[in-house]
């Protein structure tokens, strides 16, 4: 039998993966959740028909969303992660001894359960004693805090589904309030390539830029995401992501990585001309 899963990147472009087996398929209160076994990308988590992560390429995302801010801010101790995924981001964070507390907020408990069962490799780190998991709405969670976190990582879905609230000005404003005076917020910022994604990316960049004094965008190549080309937002009250990066300090931690390097850190902030133009348009 020839079984393929396709994700529509636009109405006219799709990415298809051959599927060996569908391991899990449920509907939660928020979305449909599927886990597929594929020959090329290993196990794949799919939410509402969109690939969230694959065993094969998720290290790129997890490393880029954590090591970039960790190499810039000298003393990150309290971290908030929004969106649990399979625990990959938390796994990277737990490698830093300096971190004292990792608060996690996840809207959909069924996603976490599905990942624990079918993508268990990273999930073990969710049991680290520094990790505190809260299930609920992130907007509601964060508006109660002021001057609490050194780093907020927004590991959200795309902006067209239940995660829409995590791309809004009110969310970014409440993150600003919840961060300490030298705090950093890093978020996944979508892809700049296809029209609909590009407009959403510009909208969220505009909102972040109007909230934080320092707001830069960096990029990574992630094969299973739209156009294989993904952006992250770096928003900060004090530290500049390139001028203030402390590569020596980071190197001294001796963390082995597969994608992130100190040279790539700087390079990731050098953007193609079309993207620079799109960002400047809304800054």
């Amino acid at each position: 039998m020839d079984l393929w899963f396709s994700e529509m990147h636009t109405p006219d472009v799709k990415l298809s993966l051959r599927v060996d087996k569908q391991l899990y398929s449920q509907k939660s209160d928020y979305q449909s959740i599927d886990v597929l076994e594929t020959p090329e990308f290993g196990r794949v988590l799919v939410l509402d028909g969109n690939i969230m992560l694959t065993e094969r390429d998720e290290f790129i995302y997890d490393e880029m969303i954590t090591h970039v801010p960790m190499a810039v801010h000298p003393k990150i101790e309290n971290v908030l992660v929004i969106g649990i995924g399979d625990g990959g981001v938390v796994k990277e964070l737990t490698r830093y001894d300096q971190i004292q507390s990792i608060d996690l907020v996840e809207m959909d408990e069924m996603v976490a359960e599905a990942c624990r069962q079918y993508l268990p490799e990273n999930a073990s780190k969710l049991d680290d004693k520094r990790v505190h998991i809260n299930y609920g709405n992130a907007l509601k969670y964060i508006r109660k805090f002021e001057n609490k976190y050194d780093l907020i990582i927004v590991d959200s879905n795309d902006p067209f589904g239940p995660s829409e609230g995590l791309f809004t000005k009110e969310f970014y404003g409440n993150c600003y309030k919840a961060l300490k005076e030298d705090g950093i917020m890093v978020n996944q910022q979508g892809s700049p390539f296809y029209q609909e994604d590009a407009v959403a990316m510009q909208r969220s960049h505009k909102r972040i830029a109007s909230t934080f004094p320092i707001c830069r965008v960096y990029q990574a190549h992630i094969p299973t995401y739209a156009a294989g080309y993904w952006l992250f937002g770096f928003a900060s009250k004090k530290y500049h992501p390139v001028d203030d990066v402390d590569s020596k300090r980071w190197a001294s931690l001796n963390l082995k990585t597969r994608y992130y390097t100190s040279r790539l850190h700087v390079g990731a902030f050098y953007l193609p001309a079309f993207l620079e133009e799109m960002l400047e348009e809304v800054e």
Partner: protein, 484 residues
């Protein structure tokens, strides 16, 4: 809630349209777009499903001007669902329902008792028919600066002083969700031989939810205008006019036909039919959820600090006899922000559109289609607005109720010879037109009322704060028509 006599799972207009669609009838009648073929751009925009049922009255689909088959059945089902003697499908908005209601009971020179905080459509009807308003000043809540309901004693006094008035008109509820003691007012009116009319533009859900204020039909009122398109989920512009046993159905139909279109839209009528079915079958659960969401939002907003999201604690046994918990109104003045300013910031900076903002409050309209995650956005945005825009509230005006000085009947003033004068020169003159903020559409000045210093100050302040003022012939409201 009582059970229904008819099978509420039927939707005769909707069913007739489905049958009609399947028959693939060749149209040599209006509308000229012929199921959308003649207007492909419109069809692309609205969808074939939609333009395909934009059809004309014909035997199998009945005729709203004289319903004898499917529309008649739909009206019977609606009457059953709302506990009314008769229900009329309305396609000209609740404005047309309110006007038909007033025109059906008042004629030239008749008096009608009503609160001054009525919607403009009521006074418009008085312009049309020449009836004389007898205003009952609504009570005012000093802290939040909103007009409340009518006190029983004031209604009694108005009835005593105007024994020949033909009807008492009641908002059930007001825009803010405040209800007067409707049962008592109905009894007082009936004892005096008057009818009781209700504007339930904001009260559709009273008929279907539990633990909500009493509906007009349940309270024994004689007619009510119900905005099905507000909390009931039907398409904009569709409404019901409900009637009790004391009024003549055929005469009301004649009155409606004086001003109603003879080409009623089947999109609107089918939306009324389907929405009525939905509320009859599922309304109880739906409005329970809406109430829960509104209560949750009130709690969260009140925790932010500075805002006051008011609710049932306003109930005082008289001018706030009951409160509609689905209305999410928030007093903003303590943050140094006018409601209209918060309304504008929510839209411009946060892409959140709420129902209205006035001088001291905002109102977010919650209904059948809301989701908790969107409420979280609203609450979070309000928290941000407080953090970023809070200022000293000294010098902020609240929405004070201005008692009108009625000199001429609305009709006399509207049709009299008039002159357009700059606003500042109108002091002491008799206004010949309406001035209001829209929404909520409650007139600051109505035709026939004296222009006072207080009113001019209010207009100036409301304009400065960014309220959309409407009514006068001068769109910028720099000039006002006054009676010569």
């Amino acid at each position: 809630m009582p059970g229904f006599e008819l099978d509420q799972s039927n939707a005769p207009i909707y069913e007739a349209l489905e049958t009609f669609r399947n028959m693939r009838v060749v149209p040599f009648d209006v509308p000229g777009h012929k199921r959308g073929r003649g207007n492909p751009e419109l069809t692309r925009f609205l969808g074939q499903q939609c333009v395909g049922i934009d059809v004309n009255s014909m035997k199998p689909l009945d005729n709203l001007c004289h319903p004898i088959s499917v529309i008649h059945e739909a009206e019977d089902l609606a009457a059953d669902a709302f506990g009314a003697e008769h229900a009329f499908l309305m396609v000209g908005g609740t404005t047309s329902a309110v006007q038909s209601m007033v025109l059906a009971v008042c004629k030239q020179g008749d008096e009608i008792i009503l609160p001054r905080n009525v919607h403009r459509s009521v006074i418009n009807a008085l312009v049309l028919c020449g009836a004389i308003p007898v205003y009952v000043n609504p009570d005012v809540d000093k802290r939040i600066g909103i007009s409340l309901g009518m006190q029983r004693e004031k209604v009694r006094k108005a009835i005593e002083e105007h024994p020949n008035a033909v009807a008492v008109f009641v908002n059930n509820p007001t825009y803010y969700g405040v209800c007067s003691d409707l049962r008592a007012i109905v009894d007082m009116a009936h004892e005096a031989g008057m009818l009781c009319l209700a504007d339930e533009a904001h009260g559709t859900h009273f008929y279907f939810g539990e633990n909500l204020p009493v509906s007009a039909m349940a309270a024994g009122a004689d007619m009510s205008s119900v905005s099905m398109h507000k909390s009931g989920g039907s398409l904009t512009q569709s409404s019901f006019l409900l009637a009790g046993p004391n009024v003549n159905e055929g005469y009301i139909r004649q009155i409606i036909n004086l001003t109603q279109t003879t080409s009623a839209s089947y999109l609107l009528m089918s939306s009324l039919d389907i929405s009525r079915r939905n509320l009859a079958l599922r309304g109880k659960r739906i409005f329970e959820q809406v109430c829960e969401m509104a209560n949750y939002a009130r709690e969260e907003i009140n925790q932010i600090g500075g805002y006051y999201a008011f609710g049932k604690e306003l109930i005082n046994g008289d001018s706030v006899f009951d409160f509609d918990p689905t209305k999410l109104s928030v007093h903003t003045l303590d943050l140094g922000l006018a409601g209209i300013e918060v309304y504008d910031i929510l839209r411009d900076d946060y892409d959140i559109q709420i129902e209205f903002g006035d001088l001291g409050n905002i109102l977010a309209y919650l209904s059948i289609g809301d989701r908790v995650q969107d409420l979280e956005r609203l609450v979070s945005a309000l928290a941000e607005i407080r953090r970023l825009f809070k200022k000293d509230p000294t010098g902020m005006l609240s929405q004070e109720y201005i008692e009108p000085d009625v000199v001429l009947s609305p009709q006399n003033a509207f049709y009299s010879k008039k002159v357009s004068l700059p606003l500042e020169q109108t002091l002491g003159r008799i206004c010949a037109e309406f001035v209001m903020c829209y929404p909520p559409g409650i007139p600051v000045l109505a035709p026939g009322e004296k222009v006072t210093d207080e009113i001019l100050q209010y207009i100036g302040y409301a304009k400065e704060k960014g309220c959309s003022m409407t009514g006068p012939t001068d769109p910028h409201i720099n000039n006002l028509n006054v009676v010569i």
